[in-house]
Symmetry: D2
């Protein structure tokens, strides 16, 4: 048996959850396919991993494009010399932004769905096509509190995330018994990453230490889900900062 | 004050929920805009209503087309002489079909979303734009058990329906306090209508009397939701046949 | 066939939900067994009903006492000349009060359960024993937002209400197919009744018109649930004032 | 700083979840208070741990008795020389049995509540009283699929478990921000332990390998929850065997 392979879809800035997942999986000995839309960003994530002796390759991927997703899985399942086909896949793409419902354009509503739900479907389906015949593998989807609740200003986000959750559930019910593990992680609260902090630089200070979700802390739970013995698998788990109101 | 107006989006066969809603609202004195994709079908629904002395007009509408939805609301809010602007809107469009997840094409997944969720968003947003400034009105969305759970073979359906539910929730939380009532009816079980019975003609017999959801019985609950006094509004309610396992 | 009979358990002040349910059922032609702990209160509720020509009798009942509940059902199922056995039962007992969790005594936690959950079990079980053999009847349980969520200071309340909800669900799943309808109404918000207004007299004014749940408006939904044709039964429905945040 | 201390409430047979939790915590370096009703059983669990060099003491405890729970916490918070006060508490007591609803006696319904919910409240409250002032600690409650759903024959079980879940939620919302972590693990499926296998000896064979929940696999997730960094805490997680239908 060779070295294991993982694919993380939806990797952006180095200080972001996607990147943290890549680093964690690499630290655990995985060869990681770093898939994201922006070549400079995923290149940077790969450089950091390889600088520490880990294995990673950038795979520029627009997960809303079926062809891109198929190509990603083609590589993930035949990753090269000494590498096993991927047995760990994470779908981590998604937008978020508050928009007054009456001002949500048809294009915006569709765009949220395309990135947050349709892309997840494509990744989930390709994972099912490739992993289920092997009777193994873990597919983890990143959810949010919006996966369960529609709040004012977030219809476009919640509609996408709730749809993604259903993809994850349908997969879990169907493919669990065949040996492939589908899980859904609901992240409730702000993530201490570039996306949030570039918009609200003072937020981390305002919230106090550990008041935002640490990306490495989140990545730890993803890793533990992958490690679970199949007699006790998690389908859904929530994560939030200790101070978060819910 | 004139005669009240309702718009029902997603009307098909006469023996279907959309048509039953139109008939019920007409019987309660409403002028009904009967909106659906197939002119022959909505014409027939209108004929039955007018033959009994009720008021109804067919409005050919593809609810996945923003222009169609806007035109429908233009008419609904200026329905003509002696008629009040619409204060009752139902979104009842949607598909259902079991498809093996690995065989769900990107097109199929998108089509389910477009009909079951995106169209509902368009209707909900137009309703919000038109009704909220008036501080009144009821908007009811047709949900299903798939709104809450993803079962094998139904990812495409559940992803759309769960998204639609979030649209309804976001609207309820935002526009309830402004006087507009958004509700979500989760129909759990087979509906005794053309769509189901044309595919499975023996199903009604197999299930026994009242073993499928009667379309007039469902319509009664929609009507009662509209009638609710604003001090005690329903956001979500389920409906199923007494024999249904759940 | 004679006149129909209903039993409402948990009736207190005239300006309260229990009393409003009694009045509504009486107005619909029901003979009502008005069951509550305080004789003066239920006598008053009966007087108001009979003064308007309705039929009602007081049945002093501590619903936490098995013997009381059994005696109530003995009367409800053999209500007297020209009266049919009861086919409509409401369980409406329950406490609410915010208490700091660390100060909740064992006695208080038990008392909340006894009134809010155990009494509901006794009423549900007796209803099942009596109605299911007849293949008919409606049993409605009063729930709350605490049925679904535990908030700080409300553990004792939510633990009781969530338990009551499970009683209602178990009954619905088992006895629905046998013809008896169990439903659960989740009331989210303050009820415009004596219990709340005697503690916070200014609350109705603060909340504005219809800012609290009107007892007659709530009673209307209970009545509509009872009226539902069995091909489209509701198991669960929420009710809240239009202005309520949720 | 000394050696850390844990308390596990609801320990029975060696081949059971409570015992597995004790062994796991001991293997991680914890001194474990092994609390259960049957002295012989908890003595055996302690012997196995100490034989492997771990630290554990038996604490005969009827968790439905307030005095017992208080005494347990008195010991847990002052565990002796070189030992730190407890910072990890698990509530794992509970019954399960299918009983026809109409045959559930008042005593049986109460007994399920007393063991499955009231005892959990006592443990949770004592944990809150002792851990919250220290601004730390983890309290994990064992739930089940019945925590969320009432199935026929399980009203007594679901009513208790749903109540316990509310205790856990109320604690999480209130004490999370103060540094104490309350979590709820919903175990969905049969546990491969003495309780189940003594009643249905062939079940493990019928279900196939990993078809029942392995007690060590479950214990792993409890441990990971305790290890979570406070910026990404789990409140609720489910666990089920890969083959389990849900």
């Amino acid at each position: 048996m060779g070295r294991p392979t993982a694919a993380v879809v939806g990797v952006g800035a180095e200080r972001g959850l996607g990147a943290a997942l890549c680093r964690r999986f690499a630290a655990e000995g995985y060869h990681v396919l770093v898939a994201g839309r922006t070549p400079e960003k995923i290149d940077q994530v790969v450089r950091t991993i390889t600088a520490k002796g880990g294995g990673a390759v950038p795979v520029p991927t627009d997960a809303t494009q079926e062809g891109d997703v198929i190509r990603l899985f083609d590589r993930a399942m035949a990753p090269g010399d000494g590498l096993d086909p991927a047995d760990l896949v994470v779908f981590n793409a998604g937008n978020n932004r508050k928009v007054d419902f009456r001002n949500v354009s048809a294009e915006l509503f569709e765009d949220f769905w395309r990135v947050g739900c349709f892309a997840g479907f494509l990744v989930g389906r390709e994972a099912a096509r490739r992993l289920v015949p092997l009777g193994r593998g873990t597919v983890i989807f990143t959810g949010a509190s919006g996966s369960l609740r529609g709040k004012p200003g977030f219809a476009q986000f919640a509609a996408a995330k709730a749809g993604l959750r259903m993809v994850s559930q349908s997969m879990a019910r169907e493919y669990g018994p065949l040996g492939s593990h589908a899980a859904h992680v609901m992240i409730d609260g702000g993530i201490e990453g570039d996306r949030l902090l570039s918009r609200q630089p003072d937020l981390a200070t305002q919230r106090g230490q550990d008041g935002l979700l640490g990306i490495d802390a989140i990545a730890d739970t993803y890793w533990q889900i992958h490690r679970q013995q199949r007699s006790a698998w998690t389908q859904e788990v929530d994560l939030r900062p200790y101070r978060e109101s819910f």
